[in-house]
């Protein structure tokens, strides 16, 4: 009974929020933000917090075009069809001027296609799929976050410097995992044609049979391992691998493994000595990175994840784009986003004209244990621009877009 009362209370509060949102409709510039707030709460919530922090700063400084900037957050239940319905509502009923959001690649691709067809601007903040800006890229879609291709290339560059000759890969059996393995293989073989991939493991996403995977990799006796698993799969893989001694004497490269969202849950069992991409918020001593981390921790009393950073940069990118466009008209916004340059905690980024990909980079470092938790040491920020394909290649890869 208590429960029911609580939920009714929640519903009422939320409804009030809804109406108050409608009341201020006239004075704000609205952005429709669609994400998997329920299905992937662990990733989406820090992202939302990042956006709200960004909005605080933007609106404290007078908003954009003289009006406050507002994000409307909507949950898509992780379903592409649902996301498109919500996108339609945000754009046509709620008066949003553009769309942002999604983590899951397929939802991002669905919204991108919708944006292209209906001529709405979509800033894909977090989805990693390479197709979003290349094979399926279109005039109205821009992507902020460092893509799979870029991050995999960074790890391949580090891997090429070692003497390891045989590699095993393990990646979740879906598009992101396949992209990540393909990109790593391509980049590494370019630098080191002598390298061999001795086994490729494809556990089902979030259903890994870690013991079996570890045995299968052990059987191939690789010199090095390239890991793309994340979340619960990563935890199980690391635990089984450590218990069974899989990582002893082997180099391991982990895509995204150093991101707080993924390494923090591992606590003192975080792997040591892996070369990973991630976000070492704990190590910033000064500069814009530090300023962002401090502001975030002051507001939320929690440490930021990579999602927090991306959310913050999303808000900032939107504000910069609208300001540069001088209007909220879609065509003006698209024009403004092409080549848009702005300052962010990680430095200056540009939304490239040729493929609409931002030049946001990634932190690459080695994992270690500190105070009972996993951290990245000896890290370095790699500029995204250095890991993007040439204009020629991009042209070949972007058939759909003008």
């Amino acid at each position: 009974m208590q429960l029911r009362k609580t939920s009714i209370g929640i519903a009422m509060v939320a409804m009030m929020g809804l109406f108050s949102g409608v009341a201020q409709a006239a004075e704000t510039i609205k952005v429709g933000e669609i994400n998997h707030y329920k299905r992937m709460a662990a990733f989406a919530n820090p992202y939302k917090d990042g956006i709200n922090l960004g909005l605080d700063e933007i609106n404290a400084a007078g908003g954009v075009l003289g009006k406050p900037l507002e994000f409307i957050f909507r949950d898509d239940q992780g379903k592409p069809g649902e996301a498109i319905k919500i996108a339609e509502e945000l754009m046509t009923r709620d008066g949003a001027v553009m769309l942002t959001g999604t983590i899951l690649s397929h939802v991002g691709l669905a919204i991108s296609s919708y944006a292209g067809e209906k001529e709405h601007l979509y800033l894909a903040s977090e989805p990693l799929a390479d197709a979003l800006v290349w094979e399926k890229g279109n005039e109205y879609t821009f992507r902020l976050r460092t893509s799979t291709y870029m991050q995999a290339s960074m790890l391949a560059e580090a891997a090429a410097k070692t003497s390891a000759k045989t590699y095993a890969t393990i990646a979740p059996n879906y598009a992101y995992g396949k992209d990540a393995v393909a990109a790593f293989k391509k980049a590494l073989l370019k630098l080191r044609p002598d390298v061999k991939f001795v086994t490729e493991q494809w556990p089902a996403l979030f259903k890994i049979d870690a013991g079996a995977e570890v045995q299968a990799i052990e059987r191939a006796k690789p010199d090095a391992i390239y890991n793309v698993t994340f979340g619960g799969d990563l935890a199980k893989f690391v635990r089984e691998g450590t218990t069974r001694g899989l990582f002893e004497g082997r180099k391991v490269y982990g895509l995204l493994t150093g991101e707080p969202e993924y390494i923090d849950p591992l606590k003192d069992e975080a792997p040591v000595g892996w070369v990973v991409t991630g976000y070492p918020w704990y190590d910033f001593k000064s500069g814009p990175n530090k300023v962002f981390v401090d502001a975030y921790m002051a507001k939320y009393n929690a440490s930021p994840g990579i999602g927090s950073l991306v959310g913050y940069m999303t808000a900032k990118s939107v504000a910069a784009g609208i300001t540069a466009a001088g209007s909220t008209d879609t065509e003006a916004l698209v024009k403004a986003f092409k080549g848009l340059t702005l300052q962010t905690p990680v430095g200056e980024i540009t939304f490239r004209k040729q493929d609409h990909q931002s030049t946001m980079g990634a932190f690459v470092g080695t994992t270690a244990l500190r105070d009972g938790g996993g951290v990245m040491v000896n890290w370095e920020y790699k500029e995204g621009a250095d890991y993007l394909p040439s204009d020629e290649e991009v042209k070949m890869m972007r058939p759909a877009a003008k």
């Binding site: 949950d75 397929h106 919708y114 086994t199 049979d209 299968a216």
Partner: protein, 618 residues
Amino acid sequence: MGLFIAQLLTGLANAAGLFLVASGLSLIFGVTRIVNFAHGSFYMLGAFIGYSLMQVLPGFFGFWASVLLAGVAVGLIGVIVEICVLRPVYKAPELFQLVATFGVILVIQDLALMTWGAVDVLGPRVPGLKGIVRVLGEPVPQYDLALIALTPFVLFALWYLISKTRIGILVRAATQDREMVGALGVNQAWLFTGVFFLGAALAGIGGAIQLPKGGADLLMDFNILAAIFVVVVIGGMGSLPGAYIAAVLISVLNVFGVTYIPQSTLVLMFVVMAVVLMVKPYGLLGREEVAGEHGQVGEPERPFKPAGTQGRLLVGGLLAILAFVPLFGSSFLSVLVSDVLIFCLFAASLHFILGLGGLVSFGHAAYFGGGAYVAALLVSTVGAPMEVAFLLAPVGACLGAVIIGWLCIRLTGVYFAMLTMAFAQLLWSLVFQWDEFTGGDDGLVDIWPAPWLSGTTAYYYLTLVVGVGGIIFLRHMAHTPFGYALRASRDSKRQAEATGIHTKRIQWAAFAFAGAMAGLAGSLFVFSKGSIFPTELEIARSFDALIVIFLGGVKTLSGAVVGGASLEFVKDFLTRFEYWRLTLGLLIIVVVILAPDGIVGSLRKFGERLGVLRGVEN
């Protein structure tokens, strides 16, 4: 050799957890006939509660005490669910309870999120069992060996409980004849509650015991659901030894699959299930189902006639309102109504075989998504004009239904349901895995309608005409000789066969027809969204349709449409709020308890009681 043994041991260790959870599900189904979707939620709760207990109870014994206490705690939660949610609806049509358990899933998801937060937790390792043992040189974790050793004891304890104790004898008797146990003076309600406690506790223990091999997260409820249903079905619904054999079979095959066919991880268990069911239609150790035809237990469906003038005027009026939506509503309202119409057509197509034919398909999304993919592939690979692709989609879906129907129709009841699910899942994994052709889970995008239909309004009218037309056609079919033959095959196979009706062929034809109509819905869907992903083929999609049919009223003609429209509109409203799953889950549970005949069925009864509607004579 060493590796082989080590792999075998890994498989056996994995089987332990799977068996614990599946045995609980099997037990609950065997006695109460409830297909308990919330079983995965019990498993998740077991993991989270176990985790919390392990934070306060240290050491080797603390770990095992936590596992047991987690089981007890989850068992008690199961009791609460049984008493508050399921007991009021035992008399409802069979499978109706699955709607209630669906509500429970939603509630538990949000409660778990509130209680434990969004971040995954890593399970603690067991003090004293952290190391490895070398078996022929291969490392085997000590905890794996502990699990392997433990399972036979659990199996034995359960076997003892079921076959040697008085309670067990009652449980077994109830599995075979529920009425008889009632007649013997045993309080059936408390027997069910007891079984629910045990089943939920086993799930909870299963969740807690896997902590050292992983952890707890908010997705684990759905992630284990398919696997435990597969295990229970392969073993034979209600058979504990069967569940154990199936758990071992699946787990061991999976370990070898991982090593030798790494890409097989998505589909292996469904292939095994399909093969087992085609060879042994009731699972390895299952018995032929004696329960009534599904969806048709209890009060029989009432005779129906085509709508009278009043009804037609009402529908006509409603259609007129819908026709004016683009003129007076926002373009979003058009999109929302289109979405609802498409979903209603999909649900109505399932309702046709489920309601009239008693054929419970758990894999109807295969034809919805399948139709959508046929259209999308025609557009993207051969550049077919949208109009052609649109019309060929239902044809493709129908062909798929003809093939799958032929393989499934020999089975009945829950086994039929599970086999349809297995094939849907096979189709899903084919689409998911075959990137080059289907785009994998990145799907097929930019599948937009022809220019003359591309505006929101133009497409809205297409959806209105085709969607409503499809629903009316399905309804018309119910009144035709074919629809009657389908009902006859469900009502009395004996009489139907004895009067010249080839019941299986009628059912097969109906299955194919329903597939075609679902394909039509899929076709409308893909061009309205512009893209298609394997999510539209998922089990969850099939259940979306299944749930609204029961919610609307399986024994009414308009149940699917009313249920579908109600749920979609409510969902569209609720998802704007933070804890929408909790609210929706509670709402579903309330509706289920207040309206055990579904929305339409219960409103009809209510109207009869008020004297507004003419009732049936008694």
